[in-house]
Amino acid sequence: MQHYLYLIPALPLLGFLVLSMAGKRLSRNLIAGIGAGSICVSALIALITSASFLQSPPATGAYRQVLWHWFVTGHLSADVSLRMDALSLVFICIITFIGALIHIYSIAFMREDRDYARFFASMNLFVCAMLTLVMADNLVLMYLGWEGVGLCSYLLIGFWYETPANYRAANKAFVITRIGDTAMIIGLFLLFKELGTLYIPDILAKAPQQFSSGAHTITLIALLLLSGGIGKSAQLPLQTWLPDAMAGPSPVSALIHAATMVTAGVYLIARMHTLFELSPIAMQVTAIIGAVTLFIAGCSAMVQTDIKRILAYSTISQIGYMFLALGVGAWSAAIFHFFTHAFFKALLFLAAGAVIETLHHEHDIFKMGGLRKKMPVIFYTFTIGAAALAALPLVTAGFFSKDQILWYAWSANGGHPVLWALALMGAFITAFYSTRLILVVFWGEMKTTPGHLPGNAMTIPLVILAFFSVAVGWIEWPHNIMHVSLFSELVQQALPTTIMKGDLPHEIVFQFIAVVVSLLGIYTGYVLYYGQSELLMRWKQSDGLMNVRHFLYKGWKFDQLYDMLLVRPFMFITGINKSDVSDKLYTAIANANLYLNRIFSVSQNGSLRWYVTGVLIGILFIITLQLLL
């Protein structure tokens, strides 16, 4: 089966090539067929390959296919070669499967758009790049995919490029992630300098021999790679681009900015887990960043009014959970949360896209309302998604994955009560804003009349995603409840098992607390937005609270901070040096010559007597020299 591995990324690439070159001349149906078809076939191949992988795992633990030798010079070599082990398998399946659903959804969603072909071309390229990222067996190729998804994200955020806000958001996303990428590539340099290879299995094998645990170099490498992950996964302090990235079409937000690309950082850290394990500091930093991010982003999500920004902040927050899990060493829990999150967040975005589309591009949730009856399919699927996000116990996938993380945040080797407390607060907040979202959008009175309702092409993917948002949780149960751990068994082929602390309280206590907290969150949301909304009214009178609200609304004012610290100085420097200071020097030399020319020209005044004086000066000069020497 591994001989067909290359088809998984190659088909989307082919789709991209065809669409980008001939897109203008193809009919809309053909474009949709190529765009979505290539991904669907790719997904099919991915599923078959995975099935074969699961049935008979290869001896090496991975399928590998070398396509061609990319470059070899000295010790540095990199191949264009694909690798599929348990970890990448999860990612590949998610990318292709959810990607296929979103493509199908987009066929209808983007139908009226002028640049239909460009949309599918970019989406296909994105899938190809994302697959390259997760299938790469060396870091250079991985970086190729890494940057490739960045480019596609840029292209798709700025898809409607005529609106300034859109292309600004696109630029912002690209530049901020580039900052992380640059740190990451420096990490690559350092890795190469230390280990002399960039082939991932080699690195993982060599690193423990080369570095002692906690060595400075390995910490530095891990932190640099972490920075790359932070940039891509929109974690603190590089999280500011993601809310703005919602300028892109909703399927883009669903695929790129929720399900797949933003979790690339999670993948990177999980992939390079050996390096992180060698550096307790880097692990701690990862955990702290995750915990703080999930809290901060959650707070912002509570007060947003744009439906997509709410979801964006929630994405940041959920990836924060994953980082937290990675940081405490709960590898499979992080990947499991990625797995479940991909389904319900994609679902939420697609459903939100459908709502927005139906309400004539209305983003403000307070201008929605009462849609429960009008669009039931959307309502139910959206509710399932939101419930999963809020981690409604036992019936949603989100519960199972988040519960694990909460448990490990305390109990894993790297865990800490503070991390757990932050994660718990996050869970409360998540439940609260999920409830707020549902109540405001679907209950209450109708403020905007819905237009044309979405058709089957859009609702069927929603239904499928909704099904998975519920069902995928059941493959991995908390082991004190039921011994089903299909997922962690798979993932642990590639990732180490979580090391636990000694003498812990009963897990059931934590589960109970988690359940109570999420329910409490849901109840609070219900009280504030359905039951006792006058309480909210009273709060709105208070200036202090409104200031806090504004602060949170602006995403803790990180944008303003960066604007002041980085953007303005940069603009200032480039602004004053627009005409190139060094040019002045040369202009000055030229002017000095011209000035001298004018001075000397005065001597050519035509006066014979002055000319005679010139001769006299000459002879005097000669005599002086003679006297001096």
Binding site: Q604, N605, G606, S607, L608, L616
Partner: protein, 102 residues
Amino acid sequence: MSTLHAHTVLIVAAILFVLGLAGVLTRKNIIFMLLSIEIMLNAAGLAFVAAGSRWQQPDGQVMYLFILAMAAAEVSVALALVLQIQHQHKTLDVEELKELKD
């Protein structure tokens, strides 16, 4: 003795030469400038004669003859030019001769 003598003459020649130079520098009339140059030339001639006498050679005096001849030739051309200048500019003031300049 003759060395001393020659050097004394040389000093006279040098004084004459400087006088001539001063004349060229100070006079505005072209004729007077030419005269001053003649003085300089003759100063050089005098120096030659003195040098010749120092070494007891006729060369110095031969040279003086050449100088005289050359001065005559030069003056003849110069006077022709002076006539033209007078004709064209109606003056012999060198300060009026400034058409050619930067």
